[in-house]
């Protein structure tokens, strides 16, 4: 075991797999050739990629015991691809797979846990494993190796570094042609951007496109291109459209969330970075959407236009294009039907792949160019470290997502969270799971006040600009004292020595581990 630079004890090796401890956001310098599993192939004119059903496609892909399979999470909780594919794999008797989706959202039917219990899956790598699977893992679901959790930028990095070798990528697409040109904007279950699927398509040994809407060749536009696709399968339903995204994600009415959002917008407006041509990423949480709307009002009032907005896109963000308030949107995913439709009709809504978005070891990712990043969190500590994974009772509450990436890249990274939730304080001495290092967090905004991080690179300019306003600036210790004054100090969660998940920083070093909760 080693102690990393944020004071967490992390393993240097598990089952022969080696890691370096985290040493700082930009300390790792890569120097190797980009790796890929993608194979050359030969398609004879007239040869078909269409497979009769999922089992035929799985067999044609050559999937064997112990291999690695991947999925994207663009269908969110409406996903029906993962369940259908895993069921087909189980029926074929293939075992011991590494399950490596871009993220696991809370899919209940069928439960992924059952595929672990019956041995279909025995290893997991993802950005997050929220829901039943995560809760089972943290309570000791037997896997061959601890789960590897990576932020969004860490996944394409790991793929290109050869740390995550995908044997078969199963890519759900709402529309595809018979040759594998596919997108997320056509068909009856449109999900919008396929940003997380692109890296899998270009890196996997075999690529299977699964759709419920087969369109005439060629499918235009094509987010996934035929030159990367081996097999195409048509199924009845790729997802539940009501859960993929119906209408526009609504603005919260919670006064607490609105207050945090408004304060965040005030911080942004007075940060010194809010000017014509600025850029930002807010996301799709309740506070984020409200914050986007407040920023939009400010932009109109002050006649400010943004150069680009980045990341996951809800209707609140896509409407900026329609109102001429932004030059372009770099969309890695679309969070609701309005944003998904905008992907189809707005030429300046650009589908941004996950590596271009956030990979720290390519030749320049988008997060490095963003001025303002607004991030959600479960907990933050007095060193400004952020927990976005584990809840107060040992539940897996979220995924790493792009939070660590945006925090590292943005000029001003703003963590937003209420001072306490129910009886649980959100500002604490030490976060339970360290996901985003405090040195990359510039500001913490709570309903009770705003704390600036004196160790952040833009602290002097933020301090100078924000002290001129009437915003209530307090120290992070004051926020902690206020929170604990209301909730009391919670009893720490008890864990065994068993490491059930490792938390990689975006550069592949280990920033923390999650141990099994003692019941």
């Amino acid at each position: 075991m080693a102690i990393n630079s944020v004071g967490r004890e992390v393993p240097e090796e598990i089952n022969g797999r080696k890691w370096k401890p985290y040493q700082g956001p930009f300390e790792t310098v890569p120097d190797q050739q980009v790796k890929t599993c993608r194979r050359q192939a030969r398609l004879i004119p007239g040869e078909s990629k269409m497979r009769s059903d999922l089992k035929a496609a799985i067999l044609a892909s050559g999937l064997k015991d112990g291999m690695t399979i991947s999925f994207h999470h663009h269908f969110r909780e409406g996903d029906r691809i993962i369940g259908q594919v895993l069921t087909a794999i189980r029926e074929l008797g293939i075992k011991g797979l590494k399950f490596a989706p871009s993220a696991v959202v809370n899919i209940k039917e069928p439960s992924i846990v059952n595929f672990v219990k019956d041995g279909t899956i025995n290893r997991i790598e993802a950005s997050g494993i929220r829901g039943q699977l995560g809760d089972a893992v943290i309570r000791g679901l037997p896997l061959a190796e601890p789960v590897i959790l990576r932020p969004h930028g860490g996944r394409p990095r790991a793929i290109e570094a050869g740390e995550l070798e995908i044997d078969v990528a199963f890519i759900g697409a709402s529309a595809s042609d018979c040759y594998g040109n596919a997108n997320g904007t056509g068909g009856k279950n449109a999900c919008g951007s396929l940003g997380y699927a692109k890296i899998d398509a270009r890196s996997a040994r075999q690529v299977v496109v699964i759709t419920d809407t087969l369109v005439d060749f060629p499918c235009v536009p094509a987010s996934i291109c035929q030159d990367q696709v081996d097999h195409v399968v048509v199924v009845e339903e790729i997802g539940d459209s009501s859960k993929i995204g119906k209408g526009a994600a609504r603005q919260t009415k919670s006064p607490r969330d609105l207050r945090i959002a408004e304060l965040t917008a005030e911080v942004i407006a007075h940060s010194g970075f809010f000017a014509d041509g600025f850029s930002f990423q807010t996301g799709a949480g309740a506070i984020a959407i409200a914050c986007t709307n407040y920023i939009k009002e400010r932009m109109k009032e002050q006649n400010i236009r943004a150069s680009f907005v980045l990341g996951g896109v809800p209707a609140a963000v896509s409407s900026l294009l329609e109102e001429g308030l932004v030059d372009c949107i770099q969309a890695v995913q679309s969070f609701d039907a309005v944003a998904a439709m905008a992907m189809a009709h707005q030429p300046r809504m650009v589908e941004c792949d996950n590596s271009t978005y956030s990979n720290p070891h390519n030749k320049g990712c988008f997060v490095n160019q963003v001025n303002i990043g607004v991030l959600g969190a479960l907990e933050v500590d007095t060193d400004f470290n952020v927990n976005i994974l584990t809840g107060s009772s040992g539940e897996m509450m979220g995924g790493l997502g792009g939070g660590p990436d945006v925090a590292a890249g943005a000029d001003v990274s703003i963590v937003t969270l209420p001072l306490f939730r129910g009886r649980t304080p959100s500002v604490v001495d030490r976060v339970f799971t360290l996901c985003t290092p405090g040195e990359t967090v510039a500001v913490v905004v709570t309903d009770a006040g705003i704390a600036l991080n004196p160790k952040h690179r833009n602290y002097p300019v933020l301090k100078e600009n924000l002290e001129k306003t009437s915003l209530k600036l307090v120290s992070i210790e004051e926020l902690r004292d206020m929170a604990l004054g209301i909730t009391g100090v919670p009893k720490p969660m008890e864990c065994t020595d068993q490491i059930v998940a490792v938390v990689e920083y975006r550069d592949g070093t280990l920033i923390d581990v999650i141990r099994q909760i003692r019941e």
């Binding site: 006064p255 607490r256 207050r259 004054g485």
Partner: protein, 299 residues
């Protein structure tokens, strides 16, 4: 320490049966935080609510807010224990519901004298705000307002008032126009503040704006609110605008200059500045300062 001149643009009711709301309420921009023991607390929870309020005000007292406790009415079985708890918690102000006569105010004020003495609290340190909620209260408003030096404001409650008058309550509020006028008159006569009714549709923010605009023009000093969403809107109407502050400062500067030059009559932009204009300008500057606005080159 608050008094008759303290800024009271908004008073937010928070039920003492909701600990989470009580803990979060201080984070908003209300001037007065009113912990409620009356209507929002079920009968079976009155005792627990008292304890919660006592501990909150005593040990987690919100900073930079006027802390108010609304007790149950004088004629209820809860009143004595409510008052004992409220006085010992030492809020800035106690809000008394359903006041109908000056005698009631005198009686409560005397009770507070006694409780303050028993608790070792400086005599007369806790203020009173009287809620006027019936036709009887409106008829006696002038005497009620002047009944105790503890009084810092009267607050109108429209729902009970309109019920007592057999009126239909409407959003436009024409039915309470007279009561509003009476209340402001009584408060001006007694030198205390006038607080307007709750706007009960929390989803109609445009309606709230309309209502607040009228209220402000009628002379009210602030308004009671029931949801945090309403606070900033109401505050904005009772906070002087930059234009109003600029004009007020020019008026006061002109008067000052006139005095220095020994002039009897002073004019600004061709208009005579008389006493009411000066009074209004002073009031505007005072309210701006109370709202935390830096006025006239202050740093």
């Amino acid at each position: 320490m608050t008094d008759r001149n303290t800024l009271r643009r908004t008073g937010l009711y928070v039920s003492a049966s909701s600990p989470v709301n009580m803990a979060q309420a201080p984070f908003y921009n209300e001037d007065m935080l009113i912990y409620d023991l009356e209507d929002s607390v079920p009968k079976s929870e009155k005792d627990a609510a008292r304890l919660l309020i006592y501990h909150t005000v005593k040990y987690h007292r919100p900073k930079d807010k006027e802390v108010v406790i609304r007790v149950n009415g004088i004629d209820t079985i809860y009143f004595d224990q409510d008052m004992e708890c409220a006085v010992r918690a030492m809020p800035d102000t106690i809000r008394l519901p359903k006041v109908e006569s000056a005698a009631e105010v005198e009686q409560v004020s005397a009770l507070m004298d006694r409780l303050e003495k028993q608790a070792g609290i400086p005599a007369g340190s806790i203020n009173l705000i009287c809620n006027i909620e019936s036709f009887q209260g409106i008829l006696n408003a002038q005497e009620i307002a002047a009944a105790s030096p503890r009084n810092v404001a009267l607050a109108l409650s429209a729902e009970d008032f309109t019920a007592s008058m057999k009126m239909e309550r409407t959003k436009a509020g024409l039915e309470i126009f007279y009561a509003r006028n009476v209340l402001v008159l009584a408060c001006r006569a007694a030198g205390i503040q006038a607080l307007d009714v709750v706007f009960s549709d929390i989803n109609d923010l445009d309606g709230l704006r309309e209502d607040s605009r009228m209220t402000k023009n009628m002379g009210f000093d602030g308004k009671t609110v029931i949801h945090p969403r309403q606070i900033d809107i109401v505050n904005s109407f009772f906070t002087p605008s930059e234009k109003e502050i600029r004009h007020a400062l020019r008026v006061l500067a002109a008067i000052e200059e006139g005095r220095r030059q020994g002039k009897g009559a002073v004019s600004l932009d061709g208009n005579m500045i008389d006493e009411p204009i000066v009074l209004r300008a002073q009031n505007t500057v005072a309210r701006a300062k109370a709202a935390g606005i830096k006025v006239g080159g202050e740093r």
